[in-house]
Amino acid sequence: MIDRVKEKINELLSEGSVKGVVALVTANGHVAPCLFQKGDDLDTLCLGDTEKSGDARYPLNRVLCTIARQYPDDVFGVLVRGCDERGLYGLYRLNQLEPDKVVPIGIPCPESLAQACECKKPYPDDIVAGEKFEGISQQGVEDMDNKDLSTRFSFWMDQFSKCVKCYGCRNICPMCFCRECSLECEDLVSKGDLPVDIPVFHLTRAMHMADRCIDCGLCEEACPSDIPLRLLYKKTAEIMNTEFGFTSGINKNEKSPLSLMGPAPEK
């Protein structure tokens, strides 16, 4: 798969259809995001496999947004998995990226990763290479739903109490880009002390991500306190889906029900 990916990137770079490609590199024994440009050695390019396939992931779209803001007229390629592609669709909708300035290079995820993510769509629409696996049902959400209210409540309060307010969940999120973050709004979340205001801090973020989160799970991976943030956002996404028939990033030309006035759209 990786050879085909490199071939594709080489093609794009040498024909000059993109200015650069945001992908991953192995350097000094670590995996890191990297902008590959014409003439760069693609030997060190990697797909983020360290111990397991795809276990070193980064918010490449976030890197892309930063670059695109600096070079608004240029076209860039970006390595995408299913969630990253959902992210691109969301970022187009939210005017953070322009579709005609982005060339996605899609790879599907192996079954093991799809299982670990409980991913609804572990592959992008456009695949450069590799075999795709079907989506996985949301067992984690269902298991949690099956617990009684007081168990759920104390579970979440215990989890939130571990928060050290590092903002890692926000800082890694490919869909977080607001200039003024509601987590830093003192009318919502008080500052200056730990534990943070719970559950306000975490619910504020969950609400703010309701029509944006594309379920990549990077926030949960980044959380130093191992708070199961992804499960919380999966539940939020499920509510969005039941109430409005909306799933963030699933369709290229989606509209968010939260930015429409009027009755709920047909499901």
Binding site: C166, G192, D193, L194, P195, D226
Partner: protein
């Protein structure tokens, strides 16, 4: 560090941080782990999820205490009494590991005899912790399959700091909880590279890898390597000794690198006086700190992002740091500054890179001998790593084989803090950190986002005391000790018990270290930051 080195032969964390996940019981004492070492806290939270138990002892309630099986709030400066009480219980209930003690330790009898006339009731009376709680603490620790101790400055920053650490070592040896996966004694180090600085001999008495400067093979070896006939064999000065040396006109010049003693040292007014008095003060730092403002010469150093080299973290792991941007302005990496000055003094240094220096370190330091830059790609290596083939050492003292040979018990009795409350200064005061800031704030207070979180200092006070003083949350109070006074805002919280106040020391405007007591531990020379007596009044 001195305490652990005396008991085990090595002063570092005995386990890898990740091993804490595997501990059945983790005893946290004098460490605000979630705030000060969040990634260590991660492992502790995982241990809890794996079914492990956490027990916490701290005079001030911290975040991780909420997750504890048992949290106890002992009186300030009574750690030895608490630990001796626990060990009394362990001996009374016959929970000690006799085989481990017999095979791997020495001086047990003297330790045991000294405990003979100390009762749990006495421990309870000194610490303010109930007998039942001391018993539970002791049993939870002693009966665990694998138990780990985690401690930090709450243990060491006392006039009895070394005694406190030795008592923790006693506790671990008594129950055989040392030298096993997920089981040991773990001091958490603050700075990313404070372990590395100590490893490199940035201490008055040792070369790299804790090889003594006094006459002996190490001294000879270094003299030979550096091409000189002999090296000084006298032990240098500790920080408090330097300051008193200035007063006595014995120290004429001081070169401070990356430290901010005007804010970080006890009795700050006194520190300022000494620094003003010294004939030549050179400060090397990345920002113009309050200390640098007093300097005759400021040498601009570089931040982590501007230099190559290695860091050794709290779990003895040596990792690479790589330059991401060129040094800003006239700044230079520290090694270049030192080399330039050495050359001007006439001792030629011709290193061309940090790698070359590292190779010299490895050639002169047995515990680093097997480490080289090419082996540091990826996650790095934990010393001791004596040979090129050695995989590094996740936990020390395996199978009871202590670095010093046998583990040494120390007979230790409770001593009160250097300063205790009285009618004039009726409140106990202790210091510590907040989540958004690090140390004197030289770096963190220059960060917009961290400054946003916590902009100014505050004093934590129990509601009962606030009521007596007739102050409310956010009021100003005047706080004074025998050494100075400051004005500060208060925060009312149950985290501190009545009669005890707490203040973070990151803030030079309300510098709590004007009040702290410079009395220090006789061996480690660490000042008693954690205990002093103060008086408070409404401002």
């Amino acid at each position: 560090m001195a305490g652990l080195a005396a008991a085990f032969g090595s002063g570092a964390m005995t386990n890898a941080v990740s091993e804490l996940e595997l501990s059945d019981t983790i005893f946290i004492i004098g460490s605000n782990t979630a705030t000060s070492h969040p990634l260590v806290a991660t492992r502790i939270f995982r241990a809890i999820e794996n079914g492990g138990k956490v027990i916490v002892a701290d005079p001030r309630k911290n975040q991780i205490a909420d997750f504890a099986e048992l949290y106890i709030q002992h009186n300030l400066g009574t750690d030895v009494a608490l630990l001796n009480g626990m060990m009394r219980v362990i001996l009374d209930k016959n929970l000690q590991d006799d085989t481990f003690i017999a095979e791997n330790t020495e001086a047990f009898q003297a330790f045991k005899d000294a405990l003979d006339d100390f009762s749990v009731e006495e421990a309870s009376q000194i610490t303010g912790v109930s007998v039942a709680d001391i018993e539970t603490l002791a049993t939870l620790y002693a009966e665990a399959g694998s138990a780990s101790i985690v401690y930090c400055m709450g243990i060491t920053q006392h006039t009895t700091g070394v005694d406190n650490v030795k008592s923790l070592a006693n506790l671990a040896m008594l129950t055989g909880n040392i030298g096993k996966l997920g089981s040991g004694v773990n001091p958490l180090r603050g700075q990313n590279n404070v372990q590395g600085a100590c490893d490199m001999g940035a201490l008055p008495n040792v070369y790299t890898g804790y090889q003594p400067v006094t006459l002996g093979p190490a001294n000879k070896k270094f003299a030979q390597a550096w091409g000189v006939d002999e090296l000084p064999s006298n032990i240098g000065l500790t920080l408090p000794e330097m300051l008193s040396g200035i007063e006595k006109d014995e120290v004429k010049a001081l070169w401070i690198m990356g430290e901010n003693p005007v804010v970080s040292d006890p009795d700050a007014n006194h520190v300022v006086k000494a620094l003003e008095k010294v004939e030549l003060l050179i400060v090397q730092d990345i920002f113009l700190t309050p200390t640098a403002k007093l300097a005759d010469v400021v040498l601009p150093g570089t931040s982590f992002a501007e230099k190559d080299g290695t860091f050794a973290n709290t779990e003895r792991r040596v990792t690479r740091v790589r330059k991401a941007v060129d040094p800003v302005g006239d700044s230079k990496p520290d090694w270049e500054i030192i080399q330039d000055i050495s050359n001007r003094f006439g001792f030629e240094m011709t290193y061309t890179s940090p790698q070359e220096i590292f190779d010299e370190i490895a050639s002169l330091t047995p515990s680093y001998a097997g480490i080289s830059y090419d082996r540091l790609e990826g996650p790095g290596l934990q010393w001791p790593c004596p040979t090129k083939e050695h995989p590094g050492t996740p936990f020390l003292h395996k199978d009871g084989k202590f670095t010093r040979g046998k583990g040494l018990f120390h007979a230790i009795g409770h001593k009160p803090p250097n300063e205790v409350v009285d009618d004039e200064y009726p409140f106990w005061m202790t210091t510590g950190r907040v989540y958004a800031h690090y140390h004197t704030g030289t770096m963190t207070r220059n960060s917009e986002s961290l400054d946003f979180e916590v902009r100014e200092g505050f004093l934590e006070m129990n509601p009962a005391d606030a009521k007596t003083l007739d102050v409310c949350d956010g009021s100003q109070v005047k706080m004074a000790s025998r050494r100075g006074e400051i004005l500060t805002k208060i925060m009312i919280t149950e985290r501190v018990s009545p009669g005890l106040v707490f203040m973070p020391f990151h803030f030079e405007e309300a510098n709590v270290n004007k009040l702290t007591n410079p009395a220090f531990d006789p061996i480690a020379k660490i000042p008693e930051f954690k205990v002093c007596a103060v008086k408070l009044e409404k401002a």
